[in-house]
């Protein structure tokens, strides 16, 4: 019986450690790697924090996409079609489904000047699919 009891104790302590680790993860997650999403009106109103990693999104304003001819810099404006819009700068290659009038998500930092420095730009993969964040903005 002693072996059995000991084994049970081991099992229980492993489970306990596992659970403790899981809770630890959760607390750490809450502090660090969460990227809160901000729609255009919150970016414009200043509710979105600057100089920290966030996500934002909106519809790409028609006629706003400007490419630099010398390098891979690109600027565009995201709007909610309700009067709030903000500028995004990005360096790199945009996804295939990035198009004017389409919904996109950007991940990066909001600068003090109100310009969003995007580290990545996400467009949807399917024309019928709208990211839940952008619901209600569609034209």
């Amino acid at each position: 019986m002693r072996v059995k009891r000991r084994n049970r104790l081991i099992t229980v302590s492993f489970v306990f450690i596992g659970a403790a680790v899981a809770v630890g993860l959760m607390l750490m997650a809450a502090n660090e790697n969460l990227n809160l999403f901000y729609p255009p009106d919150k970016v414009v109103s200043g509710e979105a924090p600057t100089s920290t990693g966030i996500r934002a999104g909106g519809m790409v304003l028609a006629g706003s996409v400007q490419r630099n001819s010398e390098n891979l810099d690109v600027r565009f404006v995201l709007t909610d079609y309700k009067g709030s819009d903000f500028e995004v700068v990005y360096t790199g290659i945009l996804p295939d489904l990035f198009r004017e009038g389409q919904g996109v998500l950007v991940q990066g930092q909001l600068g003090e000047d109100g310009v969003f420095q995007a580290a990545s730009v996400l467009a949807k993969h399917d024309e019928n699919y709208m990211p839940p964040e952008l619901e209600g903005m569609g034209a």
Binding site: M26, N33, L36, L72, P95, Q107
Partner: protein, 652 residues
Amino acid sequence: MIPELGQYALVLALCLAGAGAFAGLVGAQANNARWMRAARSLPMGQFVLTAIAFGVLMHAFVTDDFSVGYVARNSNSLLPWYYKVSAVWGAHEGSFLLWTLIMGAWMLAVSLRGHVLPPRFHARVLGVMSVLNLGFLAFLIFTSNPFDRLLPLAPLDGSDLNPLLQDFGLVLHPPLLYIGYVGFSVAFAFALAALLSGRLDSAWARWSRPWTNITWAFLTLGIALGSWWAYYELGWGGWWFWDPVENASFMPWLAGTALVHSLAVTEKRGTFRAWTLLLSVSVFSLSLLGAFIVRSGVLTSVHAFAVDPTRGMFILVFLTLVVGGSFALYAVRAQEMVSSVRYGWHSREMFLLVNNLLLVVALAVVLLGTLYPLAYEAVTGGDKISIGPPWFNTFFVPLMMALTVALGIGPLMGWKRTPLPELRRRLAVAAVASVLLSVAVALVVGSDLGAGAVLAVVLGLWVLATSLIDIRRRSARGLRRVPAAYWGMQLAHFGFAMALVGVALTHTLSVEKDLRLEPGEQTEQQGVTFLFKGVVDARGSNYVAQTGLFEITDGDQRLLLKPEKRRYLASNQVMTEAAIDAGLFRDLYVSLGEPLGEGAWAVRVYVKPFVRWIWYGCLLMALGGIMAVADARYRRLRVREASRLAAAGAAS
């Protein structure tokens, strides 16, 4: 008229599933031989009717019947015939029809191969599977009917299959993945049948084991294929994103891997019984949870299907009933199980326990990271967050490394207990060998690898060294006496190590550059020269393309890579087709971004060392799983079992 036949077939299949559920469960409870016989033969009907429906939908695609709404949304007359065929499972409705077809096929397999099982147990297994199939078919018919018509205003042409899905990888990825997802319903049904019958010795584990191994192998293949497809088709060379939909397939895999191992303990040693039952129920529950995540659109994902709340609600209710019901049954019955098998600290049981705990903690990490955004939104009242890959990597990588250490030791252990001095000697040899070999590898590779990658290489070689030591030990009395299942295990473990090394090396050694290149301009990465010669126009059956020409010089090797930028005619969607020179030790990857004026293009130029090891590793794991099932011992077992049952039947 033909599409309606498909719908009738589905409704009939639904009726048969209801009958099968009743005959199987009630028949077994009442011990009514006629009902139990019916329960064993009804799966044939369910499968054939679902297959008819599937054939009808395929016929509608191949004949361009755009009066069927699903066909109109996902096909086009210009689509090549093979993509018309695969477009059947290109979106929600058809892919779920494929799901039910595969469910029918598994049921048929269980009904045909199950003659070794006691009749009541067999009827219960098929009864439980019929209940599941009933739910799936009801979901299909009531929320996702693929045969809905657009009459009288049928469109002249369809709006085309999503160009991302017009690809060989996507022809195979869903079927393989679904064979895995749905296949775990077999282990689930065996576990529930055991709980219902109260026969909780390890017999059910022995019967369930080959089914679980083969299912696990298919799920492994499906996930690997999806990863490979993402790598070459999404145009930016990533192979895993910790996207909710990927996690949805990964969670059953992690739990399934734990199950494969705990079933081994339950079968061989008769212990871990309650735990194995719990895992069997959990794995399939996670498959259903995955279906919910993918098909309800509750989470932001690049893969998600178009959102329909009623579907999400249906799956959620179904999930709650299945999971709640089976866990309640488990809670009532599992306490009757008392196992009295003992094992020491340094025993194989203990290491398989470690394996299971690590896998379950890894599963908890993935589950938490996947569902946390949902919980957060619910608690804060609408604030949306996402959890990025760094979070997953922080926890997942150390867990996998710990798992790999244990993976090397476990097989060297004997059941029950292992003499320590001998074990210490074997482990010391393996440790020294793996460290020395790693130093050699580091010298050959020559570049600074970084601590993480070095550790991964050491661990990979650790698995290799312990495997070789164990193989030598096991084959002392001749290689031919070593059973196939043993080779399967070694192959799968070696595949795991290979994938681990691939992940670590490709992560640290990859060079990824986004550049602006003018025709005639060249760039050198990792000693490989990429010369951009310009872009020419090309045309496919349903798209127009711009093809980039890149001349690659790698030492004295010269080749031409032709990435494409395609515009599909029907949908006007733009797609990037990367060009890849694949190799065992490195991939060269070129894809076109966008034109920047004056002939210049934005271009991605990647050198990705060892990236293929990830998928080759998965392939070896899957082969290992299949090999384990092919073991002659299972066949002998079946024959013995059958004759024993026949004898018992004759005696009673």
